[in-house]
Each structure stands twice: as C-alpha cells, then as structure tokens.
C-alpha cells in the first residue's frame, strides 16, 4: 500500500515537475514520504483497533456517547461529588463530572474528576470489570471533557491530599464521554490557581490576568473563581434578605436616562433615535423619586456605568451597584446606622455561611480575616485629617482624600481600632455632588459619608437635599443645566420627606472582603476602558 501511493504520486506530477526546480522536487518527494508514513501509521492503528475491538470483553463499558438530544429519560440518579463521603462506601453510583487530570500507569489509570470546586480520585484498573483497552481509552480522554461514570465508592487508607474528597476514591466500572474537550486548552487550570510565587523555582507557569480574562469560561472553572462568585451571590442574597427584613422595597430603575446624575464628565452617551441619551451612573435620581412617591425605604440591585478612563485595580466601566435610599425622621445618622447594620449582617453571613469559599480563595490569595466592630466605627472627616497629619501627611482641611491617603488612613484606623470597616462622616461640601445636604453647623462641610473596607472606598452616600429651592441653588452653584433635571427637582415640590442613602459596588465589596488585589477578579465578565470581550 505504501509503495503504491508513492509511485502514483510521482506519476501524477511528472509533467509539472519538469518546469520546477530541483529544490521543489525534493520538497515534494519529502512531503510524499511524509504522507505515506502517516497513511501507514493510520492503517496500523486502524488494524490494531480492529483487533482490539474483537477481543475486548468490556467494549460496552466505555466509549463516546451519542450527543444528548433528549432521546431518553434515564432513571438514573447522578450523585454530587461533594456527597461522596465514607458513608457511601461500597455503593455503586453514577456521577457526571469533568476530567480534571488523568494519569496512566501501566495497567491502571488514575483520573481526578471535578465538579465545580469539588474533586475526587477515580481509578480504572485492568481486571474483570475493565479491559486493557478501556484503561487506554480512559487515559486518552482529553482534560476538561465531561464524562458519565459508574463506579463503586471505596474508602482509602491514606487521605488523598490533592482532592476535596479525601476519604474515598471511585473504582470505575463504566465510563462514557458526554462532551469531548479539544486536546489543547488555552490555559491549564492548575497554572491558574497557583498562588503567586509558588512553583517559581520549578519554573512552573502562572497565568497572567489578561490570559485568564480572555479565556474567562475556563478560568471561571477554577476552584478560586467558583468560590469567589458563590460568595458574590451570597453578598447579593444577604443584602436583599437583610433589607427586606428591615421593611425595604426592591425597585427597578431605567438605565437609559436623559441627564447625567453626578457630573457630566464620566457618562456614556448612547444614540437614542433622533436624540442622544446616557447610561445611568447610578439610580440616584430614581430612588429619590421613589422616596418622594412614598416608598419610604427602597433598594435596587443593577448595573451602573462609569465612563472614567481609569485603568486601575479598582475601576470598572460597568459594575453592579447595590443602592439604598430611605426616608428618616430627624437625623441622617439613622440612615448610616441602617446601612452599616446591613453591611455588618452581610459580613456576619459571609463569615458564618461561606467559610469553605473564603478558605478556598485564601489558598491562592492569602489575606487576614476581615474584621469589623459592632456598632460600626464612625469617624468625622476632621478627625481623619488630624490622624493623617499626625502621620506626617500634609493636606488642607477641605482637600479630598487621595487614594494613597485613603489606604494609609485605613491602616491607621486598623492599627488604632482594629477594624477593616468604618464610616467617614462629614465630608467637605466642595468635593460632593450638588444634591448633598450642607452641614447646618458648618457650611463648608456636608451631611455626607463614605464607607471603607480595608482602606478602600466601597460606598458613597449622603443626606440629600429634599427642598426644591435649596436644590435649585446647589444645582446652579454646580453649573448644572436646570432644564435637564427639571423632572428631578419638580418631584420635591409636592412634599418630600428628609432622606438619605448610598450606593455600594458589589465587585469592590467582594474584592475587599476577600482581600484580593484587582476588581476584575470579582467581576465575572469585567468591562474596563480596554476590555469589551468576552
């Protein structure tokens, strides 16, 4: 067969060859030889396979399944990997999982089967249940393929350190590939979960953030990512539960708006039929209008857009805002207390219900446990400036806090009060938006506050001006076109209760709670000035 092929190739191209150089001839000859060798190899493999199939007693126990098109309803219970405990010992079970790694060793093949953040060791060994061919098949399943496995759960004598299910292993009886992964992965999962600096001596690779984000679907499969986003979901759930219990109403607000809510500079413009509109920087105006409409206490979870061209570790152009607005009786500290209590409930809920996730993330990104006080520490801006000056920072009374100073203040507060969470109250009026209520005792300051986690801002809030007259004055002072915010100002003309609120960035809360270094790690599909995909 080999000879035949070669000679036919020569004959077919004989005439053309005369026009070609000797070099090309040689090249062609080589290619032909290559092709022939390949054909030979394939033939050999085919014949081997054939002979193998003939005497494979286990050929019904493995293979690539037909595509699941919902042909049948199997009465088969699939066990979750996390439930594989010694209690299940000696039971025959089915499960569906990914092939995390496979390692063949003579007549045995070890697989690590992964399901989300859990994994278990499985063993295919030549014996009366599995043939040599089956072991070979198992060893050749590409990483990340999804398989259905029937196996007996067996207790192990020595704990399997590398798996989350350390006390048992699976003795595979059947294995079918449900979905095959391509053999080449754009990144290796083990490389993506390696802590910084570890494995450097062995020259092991680490995956940089851009590669991770470019292949986000795979990166999200890592135990770290799985834990981060489960915890993030927990934050949302705890936020909702706590506020609902306090009598808040969840609202939905439009994201396409006609006027920028906080300064026009960092707002996205979208074309809107024959005119243009903006993407909401916050649901600010709408949640306030809901207060005027007697909803009393409202919150809103939704996307927020910022067209800031800042490529920092903590800025995104689209993020999830957790917004709160509430009417109060006499003093805006009622609002602060309500928000800080909500945050404390979230921290407690995470600490009590998400310990596994926190520890999983800590394995790759070690950090100190998050600390907070009850009641939450509240500092006034002037106190903070005094603390910074004492540490040698030169700044004016009404200067805004720079990011380094913010962080330094966080460290000073941590050292003095041992808390990672605190409120900074009474900001200078000049550095806050137009709808911020001035401080009655000192017009240079305002009834506004920021909240900080590990020295970084997570929430900005204030008592709002609920008087149409004063609001107009403040808007003029900030040179805002009154025509564009007419509907907003008008809503305060027909009786508006005193109210305040704030907006929290979900991604930042998760990042800082876990002590991570980049907000992209806690955004599932991050958007920043340089990234629009995936």
């Amino acid at each position: 067969m080999f000879m035949l092929c070669v000679s036919s190739c020569f004959r077919a191209t004989e005439e053309e060859q005369q026009a070609q150089s000797k070099k090309a001839l040689k090249k062609q000859q080589k290619e032909a030889e290559k092709a022939a060798k390949k054909a030979e190899k394939q033939a050999k493999m085919a014949s081997e396979q054939q002979s193998a199939e003939e005497d494979d007693f286990a050929k019904d126990r493995y293979g690539v399944s037909a595509m699941v098109q919902s042909q049948q309803k199997l009465d088969r219970e699939l066990v979750r990997v996390q439930n594989l405990t010694p209690e299940k010992a000696d039971q025959l079970i089915w499960l569906r999982a990914r092939v995390h790694t496979s390692r063949a060793k003579g007549k045995q093949c070890f697989l690590v089967l992964r399901q989300q953040q859990f994994n278990v060791q499985a063993l295919v060994a030549v014996g009366d249940r599995a043939s040599k061919q089956m072991v070979k098949f198992a060893a050749n399943i590409t990483k990340e393929s999804i398989v259905d496995v029937e196996a007996t759960v067996r207790k192990v004598e020595q704990k399997i350190e590398s798996c989350s299910q350390q006390d048992v292993e699976l003795h595979v009886e059947r294995i079918f590939v449900i979905s095959q992964a391509e053999p080449r992965l754009p990144l290796q999962l083990e490389d993506a979960v390696r802590p910084d600096g570890e494995g450097e001596e062995e020259g092991r690779a680490t995956v940089n953030q851009d590669t991770r984000l470019d292949n986000r679907v795979i990166d999200l499969r890592t135990t770290t990512s799985q834990a981060v986003f489960r915890l993030q979901s927990g934050v949302c759930q705890l936020f909702r539960d706590t506020l609902t219990k306090k009598g808040f109403v969840e609202i939905q607000t439009p994201k396409i708006i006609s006027a920028a809510s906080e300064g026009g500079a960092n707002v996205f413009t979208v074309s809107y039929f024959k005119t243009s509109a903006f993407l909401a920087q916050s649901p600010q105006l709408y949640k306030q209008m809901c207060i005027c409409a007697d909803f009393d206490k409202v919150f809103c979870v939704g996307p927020v857009f910022r067209a800031e061209d800042s490529n920092t570790h903590r800025h995104l152009t689209e993020f999830v805002g957790l917004d709160i607005e509430m009417a109060f009786n006499y003093h805006y500290h009622e609002v602060i207390d309500s928000i800080t209590d909500t945050m404390v409930q979230i921290f407690k809920g995470l600490r009590d219900n998400f310990q596994t996730e926190i520890q999983t993330v800590n394995k790759q990104f070690p950090s100190e446990p998050f600390k907070f006080l009850e009641p939450t520490l509240r500092l006034e801006y002037t106190e903070a400036v005094a603390m910074l000056r004492e540490a040698g920072v030169e700044m004016g009374d009404e200067d805004d806090l720079s990011t380094p100073n913010e962080k330094l203040l966080g460290r000073l507060v941590k050292e003095k009060y041992d808390t990672d969470f605190y409120v900074l109250d009474k900001y200078p009026l000049a550095v806050r938006p137009f709808y911020t209520m001035p401080d009655p005792s000192n017009p240079k300051y305002s009834n506004s506050y920021d909240m900080f986690m590990r020295g970084e801002e997570i929430l900005s809030g204030a008592q709002r001006v609920h008087d149409a007259q004063l609001l107009t004055e403040r808007a003029i002072h900030h040179q805002i076109d009154l025509e564009k915010i007419k509907a907003y100002i008008d809503s305060f003309r027909y009786g508006a209760p005193p109210h305040g609120g704030g907006g929290i960035g979900l991604e930042r809360v998760c990042m800082l709670y876990l002590g991570l270094h980049n907000v992209r790690q806690t955004s599932m599909f991050p958007r920043d000035p340089k990234r629009l995909t995936p």
Partner: protein
C-alpha cells in the same frame, strides 16, 4: 548643603563665633581657612577638626575600635550615600537597616559625629519615603527618629513625623 550642615554642627558644639567657609570645585567641597595653618578641605575633615577644637573628642569615638567605626561611616556618608542613585538607595537602606538591628547609634552605644552626618545625609531620603517603606526599614527609622530628637542636632532640617506603632502587619496590604 554641606555648609549648612557644618553651621548646624557648630551650633551643636556650642561655638559662639561662626567660622567662615568657602567652596571649591563643581561639587562645592567646603573649605575652612584656618587662622594658624593650612586650609582644611572636605566635610569630614572640617567636621573632625571642629569636634577637636570644641574639646569633644568623644564625638570621634573613645576607643580605637569606635574611632575606626566612626571614620568608616563618615567615609560611607560622603563616598556612598551622597552619590547614590534612586536604585542604589534601596541597598543602602537595607544594609543600614541590618546594621542598626542591634545598635542604638552607628558606633554602638555612644552618640558620635557619624550619627550626625549620616542623619543629615539621609534626611532627604527619609522625607520622601512612604510610611510603608519607613516601616520596612524599621531600624533605620528608629535610629533616625532618635537622632532627630537628640538635643541640638536637627537645626536646619524639618522634623519628620514617625509612627511609633507598626501599621502594616500583613505583607499583602
């Protein structure tokens, strides 16, 4: 710079009458015209001379060993610290931090001219250092704070605020 250091030293030594100095060359090396002898050239030379004149020989070390150490650090100040680049400074701080680990003063338990001139020389570096870095070179910072508070030394230099407590406990923030 060098002239202000020398005048501060004079004040520290309690000299009533200020000496007159001139400078020489591009690097403005200080020169002291002595009344009864040849002119003295160079910061360290003049400083040692002033200490002797003021009858404060202990400032140059009172044992043979400490005299050698003082000279070594004075030498280090003018040959290493004064000409080091931004990258070098980290090495200087690291070395100094290690050296000061078990010492109150550069020459051990005794205040000397070496402390004075290393303090003057390193002041601009410490001023620019972030609080986190000051904490990293904690022995340098301790020594520096001690010297700047030493009676009569600081004179022409502004005080640097130094935190007494460590605020960066974890290596991750």
């Amino acid at each position: 710079m060098a002239l202000r250091e020398l005048s501060s030293l004079e004040k520290y030594l309690g000299q009533k009458k200020a000496n007159k100095y001139s400078t020489q060359g591009d690097k403005k090396v200080p020169v002291l015209q002595n009344n009864n002898g040849p002119p003295l050239v160079g910061l360290v030379t003049i400083a040692c001379h002033l200490a002797k004149e003021a009858k404060r020989p202990e400032l140059l070390g009172d044992t043979a060993e400490s005299r050698a150490v003082v000279q070594q650090w004075l030498e280090y100040r003018v040959t290493k610290l004064d000409i080091c680049t931004k990258e070098d400074i980290k090495t200087v701080l690291k070395d100094l931090n290690l050296y000061l680990q078990d010492k109150v003063y550069l020459a051990g338990n005794q205040f000397t001219l070496a402390d004075v001139f290393m303090y003057y020389g390193i002041h601009p570096v410490i001023v620019d250092l972030a609080i986190q870095d000051r904490e990293q070179y904690v022995n340098v910072t301790r020594w520096f704070d001690h010297i700047q508070r030493y009676p009569g030394v600081r004179h022409h230099l502004p005080p640097v605020a130094v935190l007494r407590n460590r605020i960066y406990t974890s290596r991750h923030h």
